[in-house]
Symmetry: C2
Subunit: 213 residues, 2 copies
Amino acid sequence: MAAEDRRQQILEVAVQLFSQKGFRGTTTKEIAMAAGVNEAIIFRHFATKSELYTAIMDRKACSDEVQAMQSALKEAMDAGDDRQVFERLAFHMLEFHEHDDTAMRLLLYSALEGHELAEMIFRNHISKTHRQLAEYVKRRVADGAFRRIDPVVAVRGFIGMIINQVMYKKFFERCGGQPLNLTNRQAAERFADLFLASMTNHSYDHQRIRRKH
Amino acid sequence: MAAEDRRQQILEVAVQLFSQKGFRGTTTKEIAMAAGVNEAIIFRHFATKSELYTAIMDRKACSDEVQAMQSALKEAMDAGDDRQVFERLAFHMLEFHEHDDTAMRLLLYSALEGHELAEMIFRNHISKTHRQLAEYVKRRVADGAFRRIDPVVAVRGFIGMIINQVMYKKFFERCGGQPLNLTNRQAAERFADLFLASMTNHSYDHQRIRRKH
DNA sequence: TGCAAGTAAGTATGCGCTTACTTACCACAC
DNA sequence: GTGTGGTAAGTAAGCGCATACTTACTTGCA
């Protein structure tokens, strides 16, 4: 097999294993066996185990699903369609993490283990969406469409609802947590509803909000 | 040192180490050294490393801070004071995880590693609060104080906002994420505001919500 | 003096990584 | 076509060290 093909194949199985068992919990021998080669081959393509781990980032960079979300989001933002912006974001996040549970696990594992991969994933994928969304909220506040709420608070709140739902489904629904019997489409609708209701509720506790700013 | 004292001391240092480096990443020798005893002592008090890990649960059960939150929450619920219920919950969660970062790390590590400790933490601490809160929301919907929203969606959304803020501060603010320069008290206020506004907004997209139920 | 608390020094296994070696491929003179 | 030499893909075996856990022994207090 050609060098580049082998390299990609090793990365592919490494993503699976690292995401399931973490950096420390995955052995180079295991990766080699899953790739069907001798362990020494791993070290011909990657100087160290850690280099192999960080090389995962490049593969994750250009996922189709992520790009689809980015463009769907941009389209809705340009149109100024609040409902579409938040519903699409929620839907894509729910779908993405349902189909691919490697990303979330890799992020959590490397954040806990203090590996630089966590920072790379955060910088390259998450922080950009956060900033874009905060910009959008800020603009809509300026438009008078949203209440005067700190955009960072709003974004963190909304993303939090969705991510929590993802993690709940992934890790805790089997532990006796209350199940949410909704499709991702329905869940996205509900959370977007919840969020937009709070952003546009000019009657609730109005003085208090005003006074803060 | 008496057996029980030694046992407790070992557990204490084990909590710190396991939460920092996970089950796989922590060695029994390391725990022994941190406790200032020979490695063999560990195995006199706990049959296996795994038994030591799950024994952590007992220590975590009766934390003062958790009990304070439970009673503060109950008091506010009995009084039917919506703002207090959600603001206090948010504040206590933020404070708890700021002062003690072992709980969150242990939960995440063991959820990822598939250890039963995750299920124990979830069952004993998290799921109870979720259910209580969902009950409260359900009651307030029946009162006509809240919109007719699925209580599980509402609770998961609110807890999600708070937990996301905790994790963001813990892991990602150093990675170039936008900082939220608020005290825990202020953040709790903002998130509770956000949530309550959405629960009481009878004017926004009313038909749509109605139609769903 | 008896017994629990504590230790030094193991064992078998598995880890990341290296070394010494063998095979497969492929352009090119003849 | 056919030998030939250089290069890269691949392997078996093993190095030094760390792991979870054990055993045989020593201390100190009721």
